[in-house]
């Protein structure tokens, strides 16, 4: 380097250290570094100068001795690791501890070494595609320590042993465990998995398999479930404390399979403690535990749902086919309501309102409620009872709630048109005997039905209400008119005028009314037909009632509330003390079954026997005779003997109603067929049946045989024809 006086451009050059390309330079420099590495491993790093070492390492690379340095690093570290390995192998009680400490040493050392060799790490190593220093350190540890046969086996065994102990209730050193597993993860996730996790999962599987076998023999269902729940929670906690988080789903899957899935059928069907006993006893918490556990395994929830559904169907079926239950319709429905409430509670409280379970509940109810073909009638009777007597002094809201629940049952009915028929009958009786608890409640119920089934369902019912209202106005008009003006000595009459068509069809049975009554009736009739030209009035003597003032033997006066038929019979005794059955029959012209029922209620019921019967048997025979019972007593002044209350139908009545329903269905089916064919023009048989069923299912389930019959009838009447080319098709004839 020499100064220059000539006019050359001024150059600035880097300060060049005097380099001696001394062959021994590399050896000397490497020795320094090697010495340093040894010192580091011997915990003697404090005496070293970082700057000097760094410089040396830097120079090695600079002067192209990188490879020498790198290889030297590998062999030096390996040597130390071998020593460490021996130390670990010979550790007695504190194997894991020793391993962990050595690991700690090694990583710390490697950090320092990396810092020293930083230049090489950044230049020589990437250029020559070598493993970076720290990573190299890890790999060497992995290869020489972990994968060393003696160490690896012992390591895994120790880890698993610790875990087993903890599972059996002992307290272990979790910190140590965490350090060891962390070491494995740091060495690479495949190391963690291959070395530890696989064995861990296998061992856990056998552990829990054994445990489950043991407990399933001894525990009842609730206890077993709680045990399983506890174990799962334990495992989750274990993972969070000292295992890699990726292990969590794997280990929980193992526990779920061994504890829950393998035994789920046995658990559910366990006698005295399984699912069904739990359902029966409303064990909400245990059911919830089962739900949460079974949710974790495939088909677990389906199993619970299916068993619950079949139990429901069984219980329900028993209920609806039990002849004792069928004697009291109101009680019958109440039991169904209670059952539904119960399961609703269970599904809400224990099954998280799971929709699939709700659906299963509904399907089961729909199944068994339709097994008994009197369900529609009974539901109507229940509503009748509620609307007549109220719900034990409950408020309007409560009545509303009860009706809403009944409506849920109504929705399950397949034969809604049968319900409609009965509801109409029962409503008619309620309206005519003025027995409803509140008109608002009645109207409310009709509104609910309207919302459910549409306007058609309820339009006639509303017609009935209108008739009652109109009749009240008509009565006012009558009494104000000349016809009704001078009725001082005559019986007071109230007439309900029913529009035919709105009210349930009845066979017209008129009987012979007492003379005084006839006069009054004629007056009214004259008045009515005077103001309403062209109408026809027919007296429905089977639906009325009367109040009679009766005086008995010792002068006791009572007011008797009776049906029209009963009135006719009793009035006969004004002119005779004793009459035979045949005489009464002839005088009143009341039809046989009605007359028998009427006489039975007048003569055979204690507290209401205003007549005496000869002989004193319970049943009415046509050879009986009846006498006025002047010894009749009652604590009440007003005695109710009327029988116009809605009751469960007798067998023959039921058959008749059913027949009427079948008759009504025929035109509905035909209308549906015509509607379908009109829009589709040509259709095969099966499709017609499906479409028609769809259209009608809101009201009833049509019988495919009946549909076929109706189709044939329509063919005969030339509304439809068979397609000439393909005789499996039907064609609409415009």
């Amino acid at each position: 380097m020499s100064g220059q006086s000539k006019k050359k451009p001024f150059k600035i050059e880097a300060y060049k250290h005097r380099v001696e390309v001394d062959p021994k330079y590399a050896d000397r420099t490497w020795a320094v570094i090697e010495h340093a590495i040894n010192e580091i491993y011997n915990h003697n790093a404090s005496g070293l100068s970082f700057e000097e070492l760094y410089r040396n390492a830097y120079n090695m690379v600079l002067y192209k001795f990188g490879e020498r340095q790198y290889n030297g690093l590998v062999s030096t570290v390996t040597r130390h690791l071998r020593d460490m390995g021996k130390a670990i192998e010979s550790a007695q009680g504190s194997f894991l501890d020793e391993l962990n400490r050595k690991w700690s040493d090694h990583t710390k050392s490697m950090q320092m070494i990396r810092d020293v060799l930083m230049y090489m790490d950044r230049t020589y190593i990437p250029t020559n595609h070598k493993t970076p220093v720290y990573e190299l350190g890890l790999n060497l540890w992995r290869d020489h320590i972990i994968h060393s046969a003696k160490i690896q086996t012992r390591l895994v065994d120790m880890l698993l042993e610790q875990i087993h102990r903890e599972r059996m209730g002992e307290v272990i050193n979790r910190g140590l465990m965490r350090s060891v597993t962390k070491m494995l993860t740091e060495l690479g996730s495949s190391v963690y998995q291959e070395v530890f996790e696989k064995s861990f999962l296998d061992v856990s599987a056998s552990f829990y398999s054994g445990e489950s076998q043991q407990y399933i023999e001894v525990y009842n269902c609730s206890n077993y479930l709680r045990m399983a729940e506890k174990r799962i929670n334990e495992e989750v906690e274990r993972v969070s404390h000292y295992l890699d988080s990726k292990t969590e789903p794997k280990i929980t899957a193992v526990v779920e399979k061994e504890l829950v899935e393998t035994h789920m059928h046995r658990l559910v069907h366990m006698e005295n403690s399984g699912l069904i006993p739990m359902l029966v006893s409303n064990m909400y918490e245990d059911l919830n535990c089962m739900y949460n556990l079974f949710k974790r395994v495939p088909s677990g929830l389906n199993l619970i749902k299916d068993v619950m559904a079949s139990h429901l169907k069984e219980t329900g079926k028993q209920l609806v086919t039990d002849p004792d239950r069928l004697k009291d319709p109101v009680d019958f429905i109440q039991r169904l309501l209670d059952m539904r409430e119960k399961y609703n509670e269970i599904i809400t409280k224990s099954f998280h309102n799971d929709k699939a379970f709700q659906n299963a509940l509904n399907a089961s109810f729909e199944y068994f409620i339709n097994i008994n073909n009197r369900s529609p009638e009974f539901i109507s009777l229940f509503v009748d009872d509620a609307l007549r007597k109220g719900v034990k002094g409950a408020s309007d809201d409560d009545v509303d709630q009860v009706l809403d629940r009944v409506l849920v049952l109504f929705r399950y009915l397949q034969e809604k048109d049968v319900f409609e028929k009965y509801y109409k009958q029962h409503l008619a009786k309620r309206l005519l005997s003025a027995k409803s608890v509140s008109e608002e409640a009645e109207r409310g119920m009709i509104l609910k039905l309207k919302t459910e089934c549409g306007y058609q369902f309820t339009s006639k019912l509303e017609g009935m209400f209108n008739d009652i209202k109109t009749s009240q106005d008509t009565m006012l008009g009558f009494y104000n008119s000349p016809y009704g003006n001078d009725m001082a000595d005559m019986p007071a009459i109230t007439v309900q005028i029913l529009t035919t068509g709105s009210w349930p069809t009845q066979n017209i049975n008129t009987c012979i009314l007492p003379a005084e009554i006839v006069i009054v009736c004629e007056k009214f009739k004259a008045y009515y037909l005077g103001t309403h030209n062209g109408r026809r009035l027919t007296w429905q003597t089977n639906m009325g009632h009367a109040d009679l003032k009766a005086t008995f033997g010792k002068g006791q006066k009572h007011e008797l509330n009776v049906s029209t038929y009963q009135m006719c019979v009793l009035m006969l005794f004004n002119s005779a003390d004793r009459l035979t059955y045949r005489e009464i029959e002839q005088a009143t012209d009341i039809p046989g079954p009605d007359l028998k029922r009427c006489l039975q209620s007048l003569a055979c019921v204690r507290g209401k026997n205003v007549l005496r019967k000869e002989p004193m048997s319970r049943d009415i025979s046509e050879d009986d005779a009846f006498l006025f019972n002047d010894k009749f007593t009652s604590k009440l002044v007003k005695v109710k003997i009327g029988t116009v209350v809605a009751q469960k139908e007798t067998e023959p009545e039921k058959m008749e109603t059913r027949q009427r329903v079948e008759e009504d269905r025929k035109p509905q089916i035909e209308a549906a067929i015509v509607r379908v064919m009109k829009s589709r023009r040509v259709l095969d048989h099966n499709s017609i049946v499906t479409e028609v069923t769809n259209q009608l299912q809101a009201r009833f389930l049509p019988n495919p045989v009946v549909i076929k019959k109706r189709i044939e009838s329509l063919i005969e009447r030339e509304f439809l024809e068979r397609d000439k080319a393909d005789r499996r098709l039907y064609r609409y004839m415009a």
Partner: protein, 221 residues
Amino acid sequence: MRRSSNRKSSSASAAAGSGSTKAASKEFEKIDHLFNVYADKSSAIIDPEGIEQLCSSLEVDYTDVRILMLAWKMKAQKQGFFTLEEWRTGLKALRADSMSKLKKALPELDKEVSRPTDFLDFYSYAFRYCLTEDKQKCIDIESACQLLSLVLGTQFGPQVDKFTEYLKSQSEYKVMNMDQWMGFYRFCNEIPFPSLENYDSDLAWPLILDNFVEWFRENQK
């Protein structure tokens, strides 16, 4: 086979025309003559008595199916009666203008009817022929059974026997309508008997056949 309908209209016009052409009258001369042998003198129609005589001339029984076939050929409207129109139609189609020719034509007629397309027509004609009243749409079961044996007896003997047995044993159906009549023929053709293996009551078979199949299967057990 030429359509007799055309012939009928042509013969009708021939008859209606004030001056029937000489050819036409000559054509039917022999046929008419034969007609008059059996026709009732006052009504100018062959009535049941006349048919009986016709049958004995033909050496065929009154209840023989070939008379029915003859009626079919004639497109006779009313059972037991043949009008001149119908007579002409039938005999011209058969190319018969004398008793001997007519006798010979009968076996040919038998063959003709057996052809599937013709048979279908004949089969449905047989039913309609039995509807004696104006608005009648059904024939009573008894007659239906007899007619079935007559018309289908040779071709589908076993089915006919079983079906008539069923019809006589049940009381739900008192009459049979055209739809059921045709349905049975289709049944004979499409359903193997007595296995009934591809019968599906969900298809458009008339209900009476569904019931028959059910009855048959019950009785087999």
